[in-house]
Point group: none
Chain length 208, copies 4
């Protein structure tokens, strides 16, 4: 009895948490992390205000959690590309395309990441979490980079550029009504173009 009712409880609890996260992401994406008040989230999720704090230590922790979730989701889509070996350019193009598509479908995610992982909003945890995402990307890119003559100790920068481009495109595009309706084909072309550019390693040796 306690078993089943306990299970019920946990089910309800998990459901509430999911709704909180869903609605929170949506609202924060639209109104901004700061402008979005805890109460709005709980109202949208259909729970009491106090409940929020039984699930998350603070608003900041909530944001960090959201960031983690988004980046985890994204990683799940990127990782497979690293399994099937492919040439450097294709890999870059694929990773770029995945990122672009991901954020085109989830502009709120782009908004959240931008606000949370910068200097003001998600605390240090969010930035660290982004760092780990870049590590993943860098790791995937490392072999390709080597073949392209890209300095190994700078692969993170390669990853960063790929990431920043995708997120920034939709973050800045949102308020300008740009990006949301960019045809997938064009988006892919952008991704491939970026890849081809980055992959075309016959640059004159950059004397630092």
């Amino acid at each position: 009895m306690t078993d089943s009712s306990g299970g019920r409880h946990e089910k309800r609890r998990a459901l509430a948490e999911r709704r909180l996260l869903e609605e929170g992401l949506k609202l924060m994406g639209v109104k901004g992390v700061h402008a979005c008040k805890v109460q709005e989230i709980t109202q949208a999720a259909g729970v009491g205000k106090g409940t929020f704090f039984t699930h998350f230590d603070s608003k900041e922790a909530f944001v960090a959690r959201l960031v983690d979730q988004v980046l985890g989701d994204l990683a799940r889509r990127v990782r497979p590309l690293g399994l099937a070996p492919s040439d450097a350019e294709s890999l870059l193009a694929g990773m770029g395309a995945v990122h672009l598509r991901f954020f085109q479908l989830r502009p709120e995610a782009a908004a959240l990441i931008t606000q949370a992982c910068g200097r003001d909003g998600g605390g240090p945890q969010a930035a660290e979490r982004l760092g780990r995402h870049l590590d993943l990307l860098a790791q995937m890119l490392a072999p390709a980079a080597e073949r392209l003559g890209w300095p190994q100790e700078r692969v993170r920068e390669l990853a960063l550029m790929l990431f920043a481009t995708s997120v920034g495109f939709f973050w800045f595009g949102g308020p300008l009504q740009l990006g949301g309706d960019t045809p997938l084909a064009l988006l892919d072309r952008l991704g491939r173009a970026m890849a081809r550019g980055l992959a075309g390693g016959e640059d004159p040796p950059a004397a630092s």
Copy 2:
């Protein structure tokens, strides 16, 4: 007589305003637009709290002004590239490089733009101002885009990508200690790479 004393007055006033803007940009870049209080800015600028509001109608107006200033500054460096005719790839590469260098030297500017031109922080004016910057870039890119077979009505997206990449690179890079020390040569290479990629127009025609 009135000249000299009046001049003094206006000089002092103009100086105070410049310091307010300087310190404000610096602080907002470091701590974030929201976390940066008006009083901190006035203290850093060495003026009283009330003085801030004799120069700017509100904090939001202050931010908008800052955005305008930064983008004006940036435009002044980009525009010349449009005067000397060059091939599409070089133009793209140049514009990318200018943006990257600009924001590498001014990470606070990248931070400000990111926070102010998104959904939360600078009001609608800031986003509009960014729109005008993209118009400038799009106008410069239009001829090149035509030669590359890039759809004319999508040139703003090209501009957006170029811009978002540069700003995002340093916005996300900042807290991760990435980007600040990327050698200029590598930065140029990134710019050129992006350009070459975007310029290499032999993509299969993107069927929307």
Copy 3:
């Protein structure tokens, strides 16, 4: 179960609200609506500053509420006079006396009304509310006015004079230490006098 606990909750809340209103009326009456800070009211009521705004949307709304309450209270004492039919003079005298007695016992109410229903303090709502009170008085006075040959379309002015006299007497009297100790008998005499004067309709027809 929910009943008892919920009842407690609401009881506490209602109690706090009542104390807020009571203390607010008292303080605003003594120090003036503007000079009286929200925090003073909450302190006097023994609640936190923020609590004030969970009960009232703004200080202005609070004042409007107070005005409504005071005028409602007053109306409850005036209305019965309209039920028992009486001659015009007695009606006027009675209404005047009720008003005078009411505000003598509640100088804070006179102070509040004066400040809130004028051009500065209670917003437009307060003035409107006063308008409705005058409507009530005018409605009660209408039959009497007719008998006195007082133009029907000017009955509101009759009501206004009655009201203004009573409120003004204690508003201006307060700081001058006048009115507070005026014996009831004298007050009644004033009321009756005013009534007799206004009722004595044998004025020569006033050719405007």
Copy 4:
């Protein structure tokens, strides 16, 4: 030379002061004493903000001065009534009519007096000044009161009622669009009525 230029100076100064007072009365009457900012007054008067404080020690002192001026103006019109001896009722009626007419023509004055002489606005000086005005009225009324059997030590209350009625009528009437267009004849009738009432002293002894 100093003489003539000094005269000029003083002329200008006196002119500025008069304009300040005029515009101040007008503005405060319309917007309320608190809502009316010093800068608005100086702008309306066409002088610099700082100039205000070379003429008046503070905003409060300015209001007190205004009150003094208004009441002085009013007294100048009331006093003559005391010179020509007349019966009690006529005296009361005359004084009432003068007050009513005065404030009908100057609703700003009614507004100013109401706000300044109460508990919040004009400081203690304004209330004292009103006290002196009532003294004048009381002095004029004293003989009449005696004839009417009105207690001599309560004559001030008689004066207060007369005054409060006139001011209050236009203060409360203003926002309600009442009083401003009341025909003079009706106003006089109100005054006379009030007088007749107050004068008719054969009240049955009021058993408190």
